[in-house]
């Protein structure tokens, strides 16, 4: 089985979010970038398929040279090789089109992407990609087994979960649950050394145009002071929630 894991390069979850250039650009100053957490869960499941079922695992990113440390980290975790499509990822459609082109030239059986990137929270790439390449698609995937060309997937639904049966080629949008937090792997020294020798292929982007553009950013209005209520006066809390906040 050939697996492709789509890796989005995002600001670390603790990052302060600021903008420059008259609030039109995200300020990368001092921001640490990481593998999108949802993709890290997906990559860990891919490693399981590699170890248990002899799958090969390729990681891919649409990005400029600055994303290479993120791809190297994925190689250090254990992916076999990496592809970088050399372009600024302007929107989800642009990324999905670039990925679809590489996939059409390379035949993957299973494509693992994250449910959403934690930066722009698009949640677009996996579904768009599935539709573009005509593959089956399971979103919010929290469990996956593959046997031949049949796949059994578990999907989170509001208030529960659902089991599905489908066939390869398959795209999943995944998240925590496909593996547990404790199964995530921190690259060790050997992995990091080996990653240096693994192949990272750079592919030129095609000339797709994005379907959306960002014209500016805004920050939420600052929050007022908290109103403290004494634990001995909970009637007051109920009163405030009813009469002032009007939420009960």
């Amino acid at each position: 089985m050939k697996i492709l894991v789509c890796i989005s390069h995002v600001p670390d979850t603790t990052s302060k979010i600021n903008f420059t250039n008259n609030n039109t650009e995200f300020d990368k100053n001092g921001v640490q970038f990481v593998i999108n957490p949802n993709d890290e869960f997906g990559l860990t499941r891919a490693m399981w398929f590699k170890e248990k079922q002899g799958a090969t695992v390729t990681v891919i990113n649409v990005g400029t040279a600055e994303t290479e440390p993120t791809l190297r980290k994925a190689l250090a975790i254990g992916a076999d090789d990496a592809i970088r499509i050399d372009a600024e990822p302007t929107d989800g459609f642009f990324v999905a089109k670039q990925l679809a082109k590489v996939i059409s030239e390379n035949q993957f059986d299973l494509i693992i992407a994250g449910r959403e990137s934690i930066d722009y929270n698009g949640g677009m790439v996996p579904g768009m990609l599935a539709e573009l390449i005509g593959a089956n698609f399971v979103n919010m995937c929290i469990g996956l087994e593959v046997d031949g060309t049949t796949a059994k997937a578990t999907r989170e639904i509001d208030g529960g979960k659902e089991e599905l049966e489908t066939t390869l080629p398959l795209v999943i949008g995944t998240q925590k649950g496909i593996v547990e937090e404790k199964d995530l792997r921190i690259p060790n020294m050997r992995g990091i050394m080996m990653a240096r020798k693994k192949q990272l292929t750079i592919v030129a982007a095609d000339d797709t145009t994005a379907t959306t553009t960002i014209s500016g950013f805004e920050k939420p209005a600052p929050k007022g002071e908290v109103k403290l209520v004494s634990p001995d006066n909970l009637d007051e809390l109920i009163n405030l929630l009813h009469n002032e906040a009007k939420v009960i």
Binding site: P37, N121, G127, D158, E218, P231, V247
Partner: protein, 320 residues
């Protein structure tokens, strides 16, 4: 030219979010001088949509669509979009909406903007305010294609009544073959889900162990709320993963969020910032959550929560 909306239902009943989507689309149509058509799939209470400004309903009734299937549903919505010569599709932000929208973006050649929180800032080019960086910021996103898909963030526009008289038509789409089938569904019945809840009661590591959730569930039940938790709580297996909220978990956009024994780490706050009113119960006055909250109680959860349940029951009895 009309605006098409997809309205989600559960067990044959349209959800509140469907009426919010209708309200939003009606305001959009009023500004553009166009009309709103709703496509409903196996819903019984479709007439209610006329209260929120819908002009026409395409009613689909088909046993093959009883369980949600993204590929089939997307195909149905595309056929409705084409039939109505629509240019804009509006849907919500529930799990199923987010499953469908990217598929439809390709089928309809439409730019898709999710998590939209307000009516367009401009209609030419279509410019929408949406959340980004998990509620730490907003972006103004322009759609550069002729067709557009707007994913409305939950609880951002509200319900606006605008009664219309419309016509309901039976709509019989042709269904393609699907390679994906649901073999089992495991869903708690009679429980409010985080996605639909007006109020969410959430517990953190301060509750010490899974045995403390009795009082959290009782508080939730008293308020008709859903239960949720912080990430470590689900990582430790005290609560199911589906309850984990935050930047890497579920987003919460309820009217009221009550956080018990949760410190308020940046990753947790990111996922709950979209909730309108936040109440924090924590025994550490320095807990960062107090800076993000509207109301706070500094105290021991094991005393405050049972007392609050008692007071709420009294309050409910007096105001019944």
């Amino acid at each position: 030219m009309s605006i098409l909306i997809y309205t989600e239902s559960e067990n044959g009943t349209l959800k509140k979010a469907a009426f919010e989507v209708a309200s939003y689309a009606a305001a959009l149509a009023a500004n553009a001088g166009s009309t709103v058509t709703a496509v409903t799939i196996n819903s019984d209470n479709t007439e209610e949509l006329y209260k929120y400004g819908v002009h026409k309903i395409l009613k689909v009734s088909n046993d093959a669509l009883t369980t949600f299937n993204a590929a089939l549903y997307a195909d149905v919505i595309k056929q409705a979009f084409d039939q109505e010569n629509a240019k804009t599709l509006v849907l919500g932000s529930a799990a199923n909406d987010k499953y469908l929208a990217p598929l439809l973006a390709i089928k309809l050649n439409a730019g898709y903007v999710p998590n939209v929180v307000a009516l367009p800032e401009s209609t030419s080019p279509l410019t929408l305010k949406r959340t980004a960086f998990t509620n730490k910021a907003f972006s103004l996103t322009q759609v550069t294609t002729e067709n557009a898909i707007i994913g409305l963030a939950k609880n951002s526009f509200g319900l606006k009544e605008a009664t219309t008289t419309g016509a309901t038509e039976d709509f019989a789409p042709t269904l393609p073959a699907s390679n994906t089938k649901v073999t089992n569904t495991d869903k708690a019945t009679g429980k409010v889900t985080i996605a639909d809840a007006e109020i969410v009661v959430s517990g953190g590591r301060g509750l010490k162990g899974p045995e403390s959730w009795g009082m959290i569930e009782e508080l939730a039940e008293t308020l008709g709320a859903a239960t949720a938790c912080s990430k470590p709580v689900s990582d430790l297996g005290w609560r199911p993963h589906g309850e984990h909220v935050g930047q890497t978990g579920k987003p919460v956009a309820s009217n009221l969020y009550i956080a018990v024994g949760i410190s308020g780490a940046i990753q947790h706050l990111a996922g709950v910032n979209a909730s309108k009113v936040k109440v924090v119960i924590n025994n550490d006055p320095e807990a960062p959550f107090f800076k993000a909250a509207d109301y706070g109680v500094v105290g021991d959860a094991f005393e405050v929560v049972p007392a609050l349940i008692e007071k709420l029951k009294e309050y409910k009895a007096n105001n019944a």
